[in-house]
């Protein structure tokens, strides 16, 4: 059992900063020693070597790695993540565009998979070894066993092309693109803020399919973990005590089991959420979703290390924050970790 006090949390926070710094170093070094040369992408493949050298110097890539690192670090400390070599845009702006797209998708996906996976897992545990248990197991494992792009194209063919239930690839129908000024970058939120319900519903119809597909692939893990947490709890005496009190199954689940597995569940959900926020490159490609996964993959393929380092930092930060918050959740949800008052 974890035992945290606020002091420990403070310590964890310090460790988080150190980890981030190390992450920065590692990413940076990986980025700079990589043979992929961003200069080629910029000046074009037919340019002279002299032009190459000039551009390299202009980007500061001719310095030794450690000097580049200090240059980068000092601008980072001033809050400047640098410019994307790729586009010349400030990386932070690129990320501010790409990340909300992923955030929106990942959040919806995690919500869907929680809403379905948790009850499914608990029910499966309740009726352990029944046909329902096996069914839930196979259903969720199938989601975990099929490549996402396969599912994605399949989903598009069925629900978009054939049945026309959902919108196609992209965040909205293309002709609605650019009508909403990004405020949060979350299209669903922005369109509501702007009061443009046409765009909102259009965006909903576009996000629903990729979100469902991501949710399905994330669901297996959530369902299985829920099932095993629930099984563990079902063996506990307090469940029998609750039944001896005359509590119904529903009451046992909602009133007794759920609060108990909530703590562990939060960690699982945090991990899944983190994985989704990392950007599902493949899903993003299939659904033309301009998210962080695609952005980073492209940046990497072209050797745009500023973008990669910044993106990795952001993702790392999110991961660690999620970790941090799931620790906090422990503190809040589990009375045993709070200070003993009696």
């Amino acid at each position: 059992m974890k035992d945290f006090s606020l002091l420990d949390l403070g310590k964890r926070f310090g460790q988080l900063l150190v980890s981030l710094f190390l992450l920065l170093v590692v990413t940076f070094v990986i980025g700079r020693v990589l043979p992929t040369d961003p200069v080629g992408a910029i000046v074009g493949e037919l340019a002279d070597p002299a032009t190459f050298a000039a551009m390299r110097a202009r980007l500061g890539l001719d310095l030794p790695v450690y000097q580049q690192f200090f240059v980068y670090l000092s601008s980072l400390l001033q809050g400047d993540l640098g410019k994307a070599i790729l586009t010349g845009n400030p990386v932070i702006e690129d990320l501010a565009a790409a990340f909300p797209a992923t955030l929106e998708l990942a959040t919806l996906a995690i919500m869907l998979s929680t809403l379905i996976g948790v009850p499914l897992g608990m029910t499966a545990a309740f009726f352990r070894d029944s046909w329902f248990d096996q069914f839930a197991r196979v259903i969720s494992l199938v989601g975990h066993s099929i490549p996402v792009f396969w599912f994605g194209i399949f989903g598009l063919v069925v629900f978009y092309a054939t049945l026309a239930w959902v919108g196609g690839p992209g965040r909205v129908d293309i002709y609605l693109e650019g009508l909403i000024e990004p405020r949060t970058g979350l299209l669903l939120v922005d369109s509501l803020l702007a009061g443009d319900y046409e765009v909102f519903w259009n965006a909903v119809s576009h996000i629903i399919l990729p979100a469902c597909i991501l949710a399905y692939s994330a669901m297996a893990y959530i369902t299985r973990m829920t099932r095993s947490f629930t099984l563990e709890q079902l063996n506990q005496d307090y469940v029998i005590a609750a039944r001896a009190k005359g509590a119904s199954n529903w009451r046992i689940v909602t009133g007794h089991l759920l609060p108990n597995i909530a703590v562990q569940l939060v960690t699982v959900l945090a991990i899944s959420y983190g994985g989704l926020l990392e950007g599902a490159v493949v899903t993003e490609v299939v659904f033309s979703w301009p998210g962080i996964g695609q952005y980073m993959t492209n940046a990497l393929l072209i050797g745009d290390m500023n973008a990669v380092v910044a993106g990795t930092l952001i993702i790392g930060l999110i991961f660690m924050m999620l970790n941090f918050f799931s620790d906090l959740a422990y503190l809040m949800l589990d009375p045993r970790t709070r200070e003993v008052t009696a």
Binding site: E45, L46, G88, A97, I174, G178, F287, N298, I302, G303
Partner: protein
């Protein structure tokens, strides 16, 4: 379905990394910029006839060309002047990036550009030749994307570190085209908006959207559903699926470029011309690959001038003859074959061509490993002469046989020290001083009737020389349009203008 006043193009924007017309030379970028910028001149995709865009007329004399500009305004409202045109061309050579390559072979460079390209007055631009050239060839090259005229007033406001406004122009446009770029989100979309200041007819489209749809099957479904109007990054099978469908039109832009095969003539055993000849003439199933893999993306062609072009010679009888090839290899001293790698960008159809070549060569006893990589990686290795076999693709700089020979017969100095990494032949470490000299002579021959035999000879020499870098397939860019679209004339280099495009229900 899309509204009638908006045009939606589903494409791949992965390669679009700069909106500066004098920087990159990527086809997708040029496709977008062709509508944001005007060039002095352009050529008709059907007839290859040159016509004026910003230039109303031009006079050719022995030492150069004088352009007379029309009355036009930039999107900013500034008038288009000869100074702008001169600034843009000089800027091209000063920046000296990939975009400049086409014109640089005509002797222009950063040092002489300012003295050769001058605004005579408000509306008159004078371009002097640096070396003797065929004026027509120069005009063709100037009609390409890098010839775009930028708004020098705007650009000069954003100069930093002597970069000719490059940093700013990478993400902004300052042109006089019918549209201006309103939004560019990398890997998401480019949004063009009609400008009120355009000098020509007001376009029917209020907005044009280039949408990044990297997955071909997704693009195909979107096209079928009417969520995009044009798809131009479909894979071969997806293009084929539209064949015979009433509501769609398949069009092909014959780019004049090639899918080529580069062999490293500086490495064993490819430094042996006989080995190269056996691979090229016996080892590859051009016809089969063209039929099943390349499909709408091209056709088999080993002569470095597209089949349809004036002065192009017949294809040699290169075909897949594994038995003979194997024998010849044994005679050449390789009875047991050898091992090679083939490098390619991880993109269809190139990967598939590489896979097919791998299987073909295996039958000759040559073991080939395919190595895929990102564009940046593969190009860097190509430039560094670090490969055995590699599959580059070329594009044309002018729609003439001589122009397209540029990529395959041009290598002034093959020494490593020359480090002419922008040059395909140099990258293959292939020394062709005689052919090079002949090509230079041809480019300076103004008399077309004398030039033509030289060009034919050059092609014959090329085929006979066991080339280290040679074309395999003529490269087409297929695109599928919704039948609702009218007036879309696909330009071979992707410089399709959209101001005349209209849409019906």
């Amino acid at each position: 379905a899309t509204p009638n006043d908006q045009l939606v193009v589903g494409t791949s924007l992965a390669q679009v990394i700069s909106l500066d017309p004098q920087q990159g030379s990527d086809a997708k970028t040029m496709e977008i910029l062709a509508n944001a910028y005007d060039r002095l001149i352009a050529f008709n995709p059907e007839t290859s006839e040159i016509y004026g865009q910003l230039a109303e007329s031009w006079d050719i004399d022995d030492t150069g060309i004088t352009f007379h500009l029309r009355d036009a305004k930039f999107a900013s409202g500034n008038p288009v002047t000869a100074a702008d045109a001169a600034f843009s061309l000089v800027r091209l050579f000063k920046l000296n990036q990939s975009a400049a390559a086409g014109l640089k072979t005509f002797g222009f460079n950063g040092d002489n550009a300012e003295s050769l390209i001058k605004a005579v007055d408000e509306r008159t631009l004078r371009v002097d030749f640096a070396v003797p050239v065929i004026p027509e060839a120069l005009l063709y090259r100037m009609s390409n994307g890098p010839g775009s005229v930028v708004d020098s007033v705007e650009v000069l406001k954003h100069v930093s570190n002597n970069d000719y406004g490059n940093e700013w122009l990478r993400t902004n446009t300052a042109g006089s085209g019918a549209f201006k770029v309103r939004r560019w989100s990398p890997n998401e979309l480019v949004l063009l908006e009609a400008t009120p200041n355009f000098w020509g007819e007001k376009p029917a489209m209020k907005r044009v959207l280039f949408r990044h749809v990297p997955e071909s099957q997704a693009a195909r479904l979107m096209l079928e559903r009417g969520d995009i109007d044009i798809a131009n990054a479909l894979t071969a099978p997806d293009v084929r699926s539209f064949e015979g469908k009433e509501d769609f039109v398949i069009d092909k832009a014959k780019t004049g470029g090639f899918y080529a095969l580069a062999m490293n003539a500086g490495r064993e055993p490819l430094n042996n011309p006989e080995v190269r000849r056996i691979i090229a003439a016996y080892g590859i199933d051009y016809a089969g690959i063209a039929k099943t893999i390349v499909g709408p993306y091209g056709r088999a062609r080993n002569v470095p001038a597209p089949q349809d072009w004036e002065g192009a010679i017949e294809n040699p009888d290169w075909s897949f003859r594994p038995e003979e090839g194997k024998e010849l290899l044994a005679k050449a001293g390789y009875p047991d074959g050898f091992s090679l790698t083939i490098k390619t960008i991880a993109q269809p159809p190139r990967v598939d061509i590489a896979t097919a070549i791998q299987a073909n060569l295996a039958e000759l006893g040559i073991k080939v490993d395919v190595i895929q990589g990102s564009g940046a990686e593969i190009v860097a290795q190509h430039r560094a002469r670090d490969f055995d076999l590699l599959m580059p693709q070329t594009s044309a700089t002018e729609p003439t046989a001589l122009g397209s020979l540029d990529n395959f017969t041009n290598n002034p100095d093959n020494s490593a020290a020359a480090n002419n990494a922008g040059n395909f032949v140099w990258r293959s470490d292939w020394d062709i001083s005689e052919m090079h000299a002949l090509r230079v002579k041809a480019t300076q021959e103004l008399d077309a009737s004398k030039r033509l035999p030289m060009v034919e000879q050059l092609q014959k020499d090329f085929i006979a020389s066991s080339p280290a870098v040679f074309p395999m397939f003529e490269r087409f860019e297929p695109l599928v349009l919704s039948a609702r679209i009218h007036g879309y004339d696909a330009h071979p280099w992707g410089l399709t203008r959209l101001e005349a495009v209209t849409k019906t229900d």
